[in-house]
């Protein structure tokens, strides 16, 4: 077994893990999901999902990562195999390699928009809208048509206009994307300690400082349009608990609404990067007696601090101050990108020094994206180093070539990144998490994993979480998975609506099939490589 790298400092490791978890989801997806699901009504199942599902799963992933790393495996195929001797285990673990590798392909492209927008904002090149157009009582349609339309057109031009099955992308968009990719590769080539850890130590404090500065600016806006609109009203919308939510014209009790549970649990999952295979990879660089209990808790709390405290105080209150709570809700329901790239630049455009504030907003998103990009890229590098035996430099070159070439599917094909996000970013994580928790708590053994979790631990985890992880978390995940598959895959088949719109939510066309075939090819290819690696090992033994 070759010598594996290790984290230099504990704070560096925790900040890198927090950087892994804190991403665009904290500042864009969370307010969007909360707004679509009744604000305060959403927060109740969100907090319950965090305690019953996310916190135990975070500890399990840290423990599995350290356990695998001690045996020379930085990725889930090897980790699964070392915890379960059945030959199928390593193929189930391929999911933990497939998911981050696909996510990094499209996430880099999306992440590059943030810095591109930041540059445009700093150079005062974003659209301008006259502040006097705004008045209280504007309908969401009026706001979209009069105020936000130029920003939406700008976004379409930046991210690519659809021409048939292709996207026509600006040269600037492409150059910025390649620059972000090269920057990420450079950081990865420097290694775990010199590259990823150093980035986290600089980027994470900077991210928190910028985010807090923006929150202060938003909450000192007062009533910029009329006395009816204020950031506090948006804040109240998010925090005033509501026990009933409207679904199909009926008032439904929040705790009995499956849709809100699905959305809340999905958000908790996505935001903490659980079921991605990336947390285990970072934890695999721990020493065998190093604490995972306090570190896992620190990762979860840092991410939640960035999400519920900071993320909840940015986009929705800012939009409420200028457009009112009702319109902010409609804006947020049109998607995370509409909120982050269309409405927030408009809001900052109305303010003095708006260019600089807009830049800070996009730079904050860029820092969040960059730390997640390197985390998602690390598992493939670890796999190439640990299982195939190439050097880090060679691994980065292989990853770089694959990453650069496959990203073109997202840049130039209509629906490319949405198809990847559907399978790798939405369906994959709960599936992998379900497999992980069953493997660790039921196959490997709950008592063994509990003991492993407490080796070197500086805090004692309450026994409550043992029972939660053993019974509630798998049940919770199983229900989420089945409901999700029924709603998103089975129901469209039953309704027969797939000829117009693909299950991935984009217009059907050959580009969708090209991306699906690409994903299938990558998954099968990874399974085949795992097969060859283990066959080679058997022959050597």
């Amino acid at each position: 077994m070759q010598n594996r790298e290790q984290w230099k400092t504990k704070i560096g490791l925790v900040l890198a893990m927090a950087g892994n978890a804190i991403g665009l989801g904290n500042f864009l997806r969370f307010p969007g999901k909360a707004a679509c699901n009744g604000g305060g009504a959403f927060m109740i199942p969100y907090i319950i999902s965090l305690i019953l599902m996310a916190i135990p799963l975070m500890w399990l992933e840290w423990t599995q990562g350290r356990y695998g790393g001690m045996r020379g495996h930085g990725t889930t195929p090897g980790m699964f195999q070392s915890m379960w001797k059945n030959p199928i285990a390593k193929y189930l673990g391929v999911l933990g390699l497939f998911i981050p590798t696909i996510i990094v392909v499209y996430y880099t492209y999306i992440g590059s928009w943030t810095i591109g927008y930041g540059i445009y904002s700093l150079l005062d090149q974003l659209p301008k809208v006259d502040h006097s157009l705004l008045h209280s009582g504007m309908t969401p349609d009026e706001i979209s048509g009069l105020v936000l339309k130029p920003f939406e057109e700008f976004r379409t031009n930046y991210t690519g206009k659809a021409v048939g099955e292709f996207l026509q992308v600006q040269f600037f968009t492409y150059i910025i994307f390649v620059s972000v990719l090269l920057l990420s590769l450079w950081l990865l080539a420097r290694g775990v300690s010199k590259g990823i850890e150093t980035l986290a130590k600089i980027a994470m404090p900077m991210l928190f400082i910028i985010a807090i500065a923006l929150v202060i600016r938003i909450f000192t806006l007062g009533n910029p349009v009329s006395g009816d609109y204020s950031p506090m009203k948006g804040f109240a919308f998010l925090w005033e608990p509501k026990w009933f939510i409207e679904r199909g014209g009926k008032e439904v009790f929040v705790l009995l609404d499956p849709q809100i549970w699905l959305e809340a649990a999905g958000q908790v999952f996505f935001t903490l990067s659980l079921g991605f295979g990336a947390i285990q990879c970072y934890a695999s660089y721990l020493n065998k007696d190093e604490d995972v209990a306090l570190s896992g808790l620190a990762t979860t709390s840092a991410n939640e601090f960035a999400e519920v405290i900071i993320g909840g105080s940015l986009a929705i209150p800012a939009a409420s101050a200028f457009f009112g709570v009702a319109a902010a809700q409609v804006i947020a329901s049109q998607g995370s990108f509409y909120l982050g790239f269309t409405s927030i630049p408009a809001v900052f455009g109305f303010l003095p020094a708006g260019n600089f504030l807009g830049f800070l907003w996009f730079f904050l998103l860029f820092l969040a994206a960059l730390t997640s990009i390197v985390a998602m890229a690390q598992p493939l590098i670890a796999f190439l180093e640990d299982e195939i035996g190439v050097t880090r430099r060679q691994a980065v070159i292989i990853l770089g070539i694959f990453w650069f070439l496959s990203s073109h599917l997202c840049v130039y094909l209509r629906g490319g990144w949405q198809v990847m996000d559907f399978w790798a970013g939405t369906f994959g994580p709960p599936l992998l998490a379900f497999l992980e928790v069953v493997l660790m708590m039921w196959i490997f053994g709950g008592d063994k994993i509990w003991e492993e979790m407490h080796r070197g631990a500086v805090i004692r985890i309450p026994r409550f979480f043992y029972y939660t992880a053993k019974y509630i978390t798998p049940l919770f995940l199983g229900i989420i998975l089945i409901t999700w598959v029924y709603q998103n895959i089975a129901l469209p088949f039953i309704k027969g609506s797939l000829s117009q719109t693909a299950i991935e939510g984009v217009e059907m066309g050959w580009a969708v099939w090209v991306t699906r075939i690409f994903l299938m090819g990558i998954f099968l290819g990874m399974c085949f490589i795992v097969y060859l690696v283990w066959r080679g090992r058997k022959a050597t033994v």
């Binding site: 504990k10 006395g227 009816d228 204020s230 925090w239 007696d289 620190a298 709390s301 601090f305």
Partner: protein, 51 residues
């Protein structure tokens, strides 16, 4: 602009927000305080270096 009545959050909102912020915030500050300042945590790393 004139500030209107009802601009602020109701008391249930404040209580709910303070509970969640308190829970997340205390976990955050407790865990980072231990990691940065707690000698027990630091010593474990230093012990390993000595070995």
């Amino acid at each position: 602009m004139e500030r209107k009545e009802g601009d602020s959050m109701n008391w249930q909102g404040w209580i709910f927000m303070l509970m969640v912020w308190g829970f997340v915030g205390s976990l955050f500050f407790y865990s980072f305080y231990r990691i940065i300042f707690d000698n027990k945590v630091k010593d474990k790393k230093e012990d390993k270096k000595m070995c």
